[in-house]
């Protein structure tokens, strides 16, 4: 039985002025996999992530998530549907504690939760603990990334790797089924990178599919079974990283002609 396809990108295009940042992109992500997205700068990797997560609207093409069309849907609604992401440069909410950062994300992670939020708002019980029962979600997300001990710290006091983990925790708090991870290993040392690789691998076991955009090939090598290589806005290769390294076109893209 072939694995279930959860995300399908069909002929997606995105232009910025005259520049075609994405050109007829087709891509599928299957259940329980980590897909690596690689390619030189300006090849459209981050643009694709931005389109899938709703930050940009595609100019043409369709995107399906569990068979439902999602292109052009607002980012916050996609977060509710189960698509979430991290950013290359971590963007914690300054002035909020680690736990509050995660709470913001957990707050809207389900319809039922939202309803109960308004119900309690009406009864003026909004300040009571656990009105929405998100406490468990928050704690789970924080402990998956291992920030338990830091949860009362201000987000600004975290170091780079902790800020990246916080970004991951925030994404997890929305209970995603698809997680888009944009250059999470950049700026981290080996030990920190290994830790993140380990976390991502445990997530897959929890039925979260992941797309990883990354320049660090050994990181990609370690966690992905399949990579898609992008160049000038289109995928030009799909397969394992070893196959990619021996593919003439891929080598040309990376090393120049």
């Amino acid at each position: 039985m072939s694995p279930k396809e959860i995300l399908k990108v069909e002929n997606v295009e995105k232009r910025f002025g005259g520049l075609k940042a994405l050109n007829k992109v087709n891509l599928s992500v299957y259940e329980n996999e980590i897909l690596g997205l690689v390619g030189p700068n300006g090849s459209g990797k981050t643009t694709l992530i931005n389109v899938i997560s709703g930050i940009y609207k595609p100019d043409a093409g369709k995107i399906y998530f569990f068979g439902k069309r999602i292109d052009g849907i607002a980012t916050y609604k996609l977060a509710h549907l189960g698509i979430n992401r991290t950013f290359q440069i971590p963007k914690p909410f300054h002035g909020l504690t680690v736990r509050e950062n995660v709470e913001v994300a957990a707050l809207y992670s389900g319809k039922q939760c939202l309803k109960s939020f308004f119900k309690h708002l009406k009864n003026f019980k909004f300040m009571e603990k656990g009105y929405c029962n998100i406490e468990d979600d928050v704690q789970t997300a924080i402990s998956i990334v291992g920030l338990d001990k830091l949860q009362d710290k201000q987000a600004t006091q975290l170091n780079t790797s902790e800020q990246k983990l916080l970004g991951l925790a925030r994404a997890l708090a929305t209970k995603p089924k698809l997680l888009l991870v944009d250059e999470i290993a950049a700026g981290l040392n080996q030990e920190e990178t290994d830790k993140i690789a380990e976390i991502l691998q445990t997530l897959v076991k929890k039925s979260i599919s992941i797309i990883v955009v990354e320049h660090l090939m050994h990181f990609i090598h370690k966690i992905t079974s399949r990579v898609v290589v992008m160049d000038s806005g289109s995928p030009i290769f799909e397969g394992t990283l070893e196959q990619a390294a021996n593919d003439k076109r891929v080598v040309e893209v990376f090393l120049g002609g």
Binding site: T75, F87, A171
Partner: protein, 309 residues
């Protein structure tokens, strides 16, 4: 007990004490006018705090909502013979409606929003004070509300509005709605990725903030009973509210309160007869704050920060 809950209790106590204080003070201190104005500016500063403190938009034309509230309430009373209390409430609603009309301004970034909002309040002022509209607004000749004048009742109305503004800020400070607003203030894209409906949340804060200013305007009209367009659209009202919030510290309950009590107290002491002294002082204060203490006086209490309501 979690810090947040302690903060809530402190906040509630603070609100109750302040409300009780202003309820009782007129009995022992006869400068009713001063007490009223302090309450008015507390409410305005807290109302401005809703939008500036929690979303980062600096409404330089906040006075526009105040003036709209004052004029709407007065005209409803004078022309349509609406009761005073419903008229004031409708004044708040009218301010919110103007807020809805101005929501597109929220698309602009910081300084442009502030300038555009300032321009909007000036435009409203010039429309209302236009002699061509004398039949409706009395144009530049002002409003006489002496038929419904009631010093005690309007004082108490201000007390209620102040209480309401306090409660709103406390709600923003404690609730997860407020948390998501602060997330938007830090980074709107990341907030939307976290699942926050950025546009909706921002608009709610904006309209609530306008509503508070509108209520203040209505009560002010009732209390003074005679006023001119330039009284209720004076840029100084915006400026005072902004300076009080900046001074005390935005996004807290206590910051605007401290700011208003200290600075308005100072204004009353040195400012009313020679306002330029006060203007010089708060000008210098702003410059110093931006250079050395951008988060206001409250940020001095770093150690107990989590308990500051």
């Amino acid at each position: 007990m979690r810090k947040k809950n302690i903060r809530l209790i402190i906040g509630i106590i603070l609100i109750l004490v302040m409300t009780a204080l202003f309820a009782l003070l007129p009995k022992i201190y006869n400068n009713n006018f001063l007490l009223f104005n302090i309450m008015l500016y507390i409410a305005l500063a807290e109302g401005l705090n809703l939008i500036y403190g929690f979303t980062g938009y600096l409404p330089f034309g906040y006075v526009g909502f105040f003036g709209i509230g004052a004029y709407s309430a007065s005209l409803l009373i004078l022309l349509l013979h609406v009761g005073v209390v419903p008229a004031i409430l409708l004044g708040g609603v009218a301010a919110s409606i103007v807020g809805i009309i101005l929501t597109p301004l929220l698309r602009l970034s910081g300084a442009y929003f502030a300038i555009a909002n300032l321009a909007a309040s000036q435009a409203i002022y010039y429309i209302i004070s236009n002699p061509h509209l004398e039949n409706i607004t009395q144009g530049p000749y002002g409003i006489m509300l002496s038929s419904v004048y009631d010093a005690t009742a309007s004082y108490n109305a201000m007390l209620i509005v102040m209480f309401f503004a306090f409660m709103l800020v406390l709600f923003f400070r404690q609730s997860r709605f407020g948390l998501s607003l602060m997330a938007i203030r830090e980074d709107s894209i990341t907030a939307s990725v976290a699942g926050v409906n950025v546009v909706l949340a921002r608009t709610i804060a904006w309209l609530l903030s306008a509503f508070v200013a509108g209520l203040c305007g209505g009560v002010f009209a009732w209390y003074t009973s005679v006023f001119y367009p330039e009284t209720v659209f004076s840029l100084n009202i915006s400026i005072f509210a902004i300076v009080f919030v900046l001074f005390g510290g935005a996004a807290t309950l206590i910051g605007p309160l401290i700011g208003t009590v200290i600075l308005y107290g100072m204004y009353n002491f040195i400012g009313i007869s020679t306002p330029q002294y006060f203007q010089l002082i708060y000008g210098l204060l702003i410059v110093m704050l931006i250079m050395f203490l951008p988060n206001g006086v409250v940020s001095l209490f770093k150690k107990v920060k989590d308990y500051v309501p």
